[in-house]
Amino acid sequence: MSTTPAAIPSATPGNTLPREHYLNATYGIRSWLLTTDHKRIALLYLVSVTFFFFIGGAFATMIRIHLLTPNGYLVTAETYNKLFTMHGVAMIFFFLIPSIPAVLGNFLIPLMIGAKDLAFPKINLLSWYIYLVGGGFVLYSFSTGGLDTGWTFYTPLSSVYSNSAVTPAVIGVFINGFSSILTGLNFIVTIHTMRAPGMTWFRLPLFVWAHYATSIIFILGTPVIAITLLLAGLERMLHLGFFNPALGGDPILFQHLFWFYSHPAVYIMILPAMGVISEIIPTFARKPIFGYTFIAGSSIAIAVIGFFVWAHHMFLTGESAYAALTFSLLSYLVAIPSAVKVFNWTSTLYKGSISWDTPMLYALGFIGLFLVGGLTGLFLACLGLDIHIHDTYFVVAHFHYIMVGGAVMGYVGGLHFWWPKITGRLYPEFLARIAAVTLFIGFNLTFFPQFILGYLGMPRRYHSYPPEFQVFNVMSTAGASILALGYLLPMIYLIWSMRYGRVAGRNPWPATGLEWQTDSPPLTENFDVTPEVTWEAYDFVNRPDLGLDVKGAPSLAPAHGDD
């Protein structure tokens, strides 16, 4: 991207930070570790999920280096298995699932709905501690023998045969589940009861709708994986029998229960990212989102239909062909709301006033990568094709496009978008654009070759592979090194900007949400007085306070509903 004029609009740039805000309200370690302020808890989460991201990233790096050669000599088979398992566990349970909800959601939901805090601030803090305890168990497992069951913990490998430290890992993931549950509970109650006057359901930012949908999954899905892992753990620790085929139990039942949560868990990762994108696009196109109700409704539809498709992970386990047909059909249904979102985002760009700021670059990157990730889901939902590509690198590529291309792009883009609100300062725009483009290129180079590898038949979770697959593995590893740089760069300049970045002011973009109506960084109580909402979501025209050139705008008829 070349340089762009007027990248940062000039709406109310302040010179100094507000005198008092949540970051300097109190000092000392205790004031952080015992805080009940949702914004501080969000920052605690930010630090801890970043920690796990780098742990998971380190494992990923070793995996990619090992796979440079067919008979990789970096690590043994046993170690390799532990690497990809620990990569999965760290990334999924301790980075991706909490990332956007617990960091951005925690920070923003009360601000967006005009509340002083979440409904249960102490429970919010508790959920962070639960996360830490769960993380502690998992790290203990990683450091005392590691874990080699795959992040899916399939029985009877995990409950009977594995010799690695399965028990502490299962306990850790079990405990961590309650952190998710409490976060979801807090969000649902907060969104129901804490909205400011005038903040009706259909004036809610789409980010909030996305988190409401996510919370449904947290609440109704997470307990199932908790109990399932508990049962598998009991089978291992106390030799009880639930799934153990030696006693006549059915290992496939474990998969049913596991995927009952773990498929919707994919939507836990992507829905909040979709929420972020739904905020960024109208802001940087300066126009209302196209089809508000459809985007909001599709979030709920994804969360609900997402619970009906899990057995598409099990087409080849010997599950009944009738069940397979049903689940395949339902899987195609869940693709539709995602498609609706993409079309609406694209249409929002039409006749917008589009700036090329970094968050917008992430949003566009997200659309591109999510498109690939989502469309390749259609291949996997297809029964006939799944026979061939199931459990190959095609699957690996597909879910990395969704989880890394989608969720992480959304997360990093969201961090940039709200960074001025979180820290009161702007990140360096030029470096940020370079990082965004680097990430996009690195990501595609890493994961696109894996689609081809998958169709060629390379199975996943292989520490060595036939030499004919080497070319694409080398490409993938090369891409991964670019990707790694792309992640390090924002880490460095974001930390730098906390001290040296330009002071942002209340509403640097400007954006329409309530969170931009208060100081950056906000007060501990969020707002001086409880705000009253008199405008529709994403309405730039009837908002003189934003200081935009509304008169010069080509205006259509007055704002009307989208139905």
Binding site: A119, I181, L185, M194, I219, P223, L240, L247, D250, L253
Partner: protein
Amino acid sequence: MHRTGELFGQFETMDQQRESASLGMWVFLSTEVLFFGGMFMTYTLNRSTYPDVFGEASRSINLPLGAVNTIVLIASSLTMAMSVWASQVGKKQLLTIFLILTLILGSVFLGIKGIEYHEKFVEHHVPGLNFSFEPGASVATNAHAQLFFSLYFAMTGLHALHMIVGAGLLIWLIKQSLKGRFTPEYSTPVDLIGLYWHFVDIVWIFLFPLLYLIDRH
């Protein structure tokens, strides 16, 4: 915890605070439904695969104890409901009495459960500990009976764990109640813990026929 009837900073009104607390508890209970649900699913499949052995194994557990326990637990639900009523109408002494009754009934339930577990232990019916179902039972019957008893212990064990947590909460409530903390304006903790207690009762209402009453004819 906090002083009685205090309005927390994040809320605007007492009503909002009460509604949030109640909704929060219900949402929590809905996760509990799915939490126990995973075990009910495992039970459903294993029982439908081995109906006969499950019947045989079920007949080996002590029905009179289970039935008495059901009655005890439902009675404790009644006293809990009465505590909620007492707190709502401001009968402070009655509240304390009902809470103590609930706690006693809950403890009786746990005590009887303990006796049952002991019986099973003596009979070598605890999977993973010298399990042997019946002298002369075939290898398969033995294996499938282990599935039943694993579920029996996991389900009743997790239920008992919930009871123990509930008992702890009740002790806290009784302390508060003795200090006269609850008034008709402020009885949220009694309401919420009441909801939790009734939920635990409901779980048992399903566990009882599923575990104790298979093919008793």
